[in-house]
């Protein structure tokens, strides 16, 4: 991108400006005289303003604060627009400002009303201040319109405020009565419920709950005891079996074996000293043989009984065992244990029945409690709102009284309207200045734009920087003596032309000041 110094641009710009002086002069004349013409016919507008202070707090807002949803901030401008542009005030403004005297027919008056509405600006200045601004070609009419508009708005606003406070009181009073009815109704419902549900006291639920907890604990305790008793019973049964085995070992079979062993020992002793034919040895042998036979018989008998007991399932108990005192004690314990178990089972089933009954009761109590809670809550809410509304109704009564006595009015004309002396907006002098300045600046800007967008070379810097070619010299146009003379004459004509334009400006300005145009 080519970076040109401001002086380079200005030099070329003024060079072009000078070279194209004819076209530029024509542009200057057209633009400046064009602006002068527009400035001459441009309508004058006068603006009159007034500032009105309005109390920013709405009468309903503090009264209903907390009881209803927070209202949006009051749009004073919208309210003012609604009041001022209302048919009632607009008609009064037309009358007071003298519009009706000028315009006789309804159609014309309606058109004027629309025109006034279009040219009235109502702006919010903050802090409860609104500005009413009206623009019109007649200063007196402008002043009267704004003045009457402000006065009518204030008086109407006061009335509206009074009506508003009355409406607020009535509204709150209605609400108080409505909530009183609701409260009475809920009280009756509560009484009815209590009479129908004597157990539906809130402490009953706690009692039932405690009982259920106690029952559950007892059931758990009983189940635990039952399991312990069962374990004890099993243990006694095992002990009983073990005692039987010991007893069996001490039975006849064992006696036989002991006797045989003793005799065998004696026999061995005798054989050390005597031959086998010795009578004692023979006797012992026979006795041992008899004992072995008896032992064998005994074994056979036991096996037979055991096999029988296995098939029949009955516990085989030798009579010898039955005589064992420990065995007898164990049997007694077993009996006791089984009795205990039966007792515990009975107790458990009873406890479970009671628990079910308590559950049913609890459910009934809970249902009743929900209804009671709802009724109580409704009662509480209605009571709170009712009491609150009672207070607010008293406040509303005070506000209403204040407004009725014109003591609560918050509308005030802060800055009254004045008759505008100078016209507002674009004035003739603005067009004069703009015409002369733009007559020069617009052609200059056009040349500048052409210099920027024209692809042809206007700066030697382009050749040296962009094309990278050495520039040996930059030579200005050469003018001959005769050309210089022509230029001088030409410049004189241009100067005369500019002077004529300025004279036209002066003449038109004088006519304007004299009020002739």
């Amino acid at each position: 991108m080519l970076q040109l110094q401001p002086e380079e641009i200005l030099y070329t710009l003024f060079g072009e400006f000078y070279a194209r002086r004819n076209a530029i002069f024509i542009f200057f004349v057209l633009i400046s005289l064009g602006f002068l013409g527009v400035g001459t016919v441009w309508p004058k507008h006068y603006t009159s303003t007034t500032v009105i202070q309005i109390n920013s707090s709405n009468i309903l807002q503090p009264l209903l604060q907390g009881a209803a949803e927070e209202a949006k901030p009051v749009d004073h401008v919208a309210n003012a627009r609604e009041i001022i542009f209302g048919e009632k005030i607009m008609n009064a403004v037309m009358e007071k400002s003298g519009w009706n005297e000028i315009y006789q027919t309804e159609i014309e008056r309606e058109r004027v009303k629309q025109e006034i509405k279009k040219n009235v600006k109502i702006n919010n200045l903050g802090e409860g201040l609104i500005k009413i601004e009206y623009r019109h070609s007649e200063p007196e009419r402008t002043y009267l319109t704004v003045k009457s508009m402000a006065e009518l708005f204030v008086s109407e606003g006061e009335k509206v405020k009074s009506e508003e406070s009355l409406a607020a009181f009535n509204f709150i009073d209605n609400q108080v009565n409505e909530y009183l009815d609701k409260l009475t109704s809920v009280e009756q419902d509560l009484l009815k419920f209590h009479s129908n549900n004597p157990d539906s006291r809130p402490e009953q639920a706690a009692e039932v709950s405690n009982r259920i907890t106690a029952l559950k604990a007892k059931i758990e305790q009983t189940e635990l005891e039952l399991r312990e008793t069962a374990i004890k019973r099993d243990s006694i049964k095992k002990q009983l079996s073990g005692e039987a085995a010991i007893t069996i070992s001490q039975s006849r079979e064992g006696q036989y074996r002991s006797k045989i062993a003793e005799m065998q020992a004696e026999l061995e002793t005798l054989r050390l000293d005597f031959k086998d034919t010795y009578p004692d040895i023979v006797r012992l042998k026979q006795q041992i043989a008899d004992l072995k036979t008896s032992l064998h018989l005994e074994i056979e008998r036991r096996k037979e009984v055991v096999s029988k007991s296995k098939t029949s399932g009955e516990l085989y108990i030798d009579e010898a065992i039955l005589l064992n005192p420990l065995y007898q004690q164990l049997r007694g314990d077993l009996s006791k244990t089984e009795t205990t178990m039966a007792t515990l089972n009975t107790r458990l089933s009873e406890l479970k029945k009671i628990l079910v009954a308590e559950y049913d009761r609890a459910q009934k109590i809970h249902g009743g409690s929900t209804a009671l809670t709802k009724l109580t809550r409704d009662y509480g809410v209605n009571k709170d709102i009712y009491q609150d509304l009672l207070k607010r109704r008293e406040n509303a009564r005070v506000s209403k009284s204040l407004n009725q006595e014109q003591k609560g009015v918050k509308f005030k004309i802060q800055e009254p309207a004045i008759v505008p002396v100078l016209p507002s907006g674009l004035r003739f002098i603005h067009f004069v200045i703009a015409g002369l300045a733009l007559g020069i600046l617009i052609p200059l800007m056009m040349i500048y734009v052409v210099l920027l967008v024209d692809p042809r070379i206007h700066f030697s810097k382009i050749i040296s920087t962009e094309l990278k070619l050495p520039v040996l010299a930059e030579i200005n146009q050469i003018t001959s003596f005769s050309e210089e003379e022509k230029i001088k004459t030409h410049m004189m004509y241009i100067a005369i032309g500019v002077f004529i334009v300025l004279c036209i400006y002066g003449y038109v300005g004088w006519l304007k000041l004299a009020g002739q145009i």
């Binding site: 042809r456 070619l469 050495p470 010299a473 930059e474 200005n476 003596f481």
Partner: protein, 296 residues
């Protein structure tokens, strides 16, 4: 008879007398001037030292015809020392200095060409040659080689009957016969001539090479400027480039695009000395109140 004519007559007689003269050459050497019968008769290759003799005196006594006054020069848009717009004259002086610096003090042949046919580089050629002729020790010669659109003689208001093409066509024509007085001190012109057919053949002939050598060698202080047709539109100009030492490209303000200048520069190649950006519009001149100086 005017004083100038008297001086020229004396100089002619002096040369024809045949007496040896001591003359100072460019490098302060003293050489003997042999019997010479006109500069065009000196053999080109035999005696270079003699050919390089400086004819300062002859320059001083050179017949420039009727010298034009400032008003006439102004109407022809030719610079002169006392002109009001000193900026233009000084710009051409600076350009002259740059060219002398580039040639390291030796005389040269420079071709001035343009980018396209709608552009007139003759003004730059004439004024540059004029700037060289401001120096009393230098002469300048313009040869109008733009055979398709010769403008130099018209711009200078010359009525030439014979020119470059006549010299190239006719063996009997001498260089001296084609030289035209311009009315500007120490500046001569060889116009395009009357015959402008087969122009390419003219510039490829040995005769034009000899002519250039002769012109350059006759005076060590003579600077030759060839006014050529636009380089991108003429084969003549490309052929002429071989005969010259430097090429100067003229670019007029606000009339050519970068592309055209780029094409012209590429066509010229290494011999391009630089670009002259001309016809730049200037803001009006006025005297600064109280200072007596102008804004330029």
């Amino acid at each position: 008879m005017s004083k100038i004519e008297d001086a020229l007559e004396k100089a002619k007689k002096s040369r024809e007398s045949g007496s040896a003269q001591l003359t100072v050459v460019g490098n302060n050497q003293v050489v003997t001037d042999t019997k010479s019968k006109g500069l065009d008769k000196i053999p080109g290759q035999e005696n270079d030292a003699i050919q390089r003799v400086s004819y300062s005196k002859e320059i001083m006594l050179m017949d420039d015809g009727k010298i034009r006054d400032n008003k006439e020069l102004s109407e022809l848009k030719i610079i002169y020392s006392e002109m009001n717009d000193t900026k233009v004259a000084n710009t051409f002086r600076d350009l002259r200095t740059k060219l002398i610096h580039a040639s390291k003090g030796k005389n040269f042949i420079a071709m001035i060409t343009s980018c396209y046919s709608g552009e007139n580089s003759s003004s730059v050629t004439i004024n540059l040659a004029t700037a060289f002729s401001f120096d009393e020790s230098k002469t300048s010669l313009i040869i109008d080689c733009n055979l398709s659109n010769p403008t130099i003689d018209k711009m200078l208001g010359l009525d030439a009957n014979i020119g470059l093409t006549d010299y190239l066509e006719n063996e009997d024509t001498k260089v001296d016969d084609t030289l035209c007085k311009t009315g500007i001190k120490r500046m001569k012109v060889i116009p395009a001539g009357t015959s402008i057919e087969n122009t390419v053949e003219y510039f490829t002939s040995a005769r034009i090479r000899n002519m250039m050598q002769e012109i350059l060698n006759r005076y060590s202080d003579r600077y030759v400027f060839l006014e050529a047709a636009p380089i991108t539109e003429s084969a003549d100009s490309r052929i002429l480039m071989d005969l010259c030492d430097y090429v100067i490209l003229t670019v007029p303000y606000g009339r050519v695009t970068k592309r055209k200048v780029q094409d012209a520069a590429e066509a010229i190649g290494d011999k391009l000395l630089g670009v002259v950006f001309n016809e730049v519009p200037k803001p009006p001149r006025f005297k600064i109140p109280g200072t007596g100086r102008s804004n330029t």
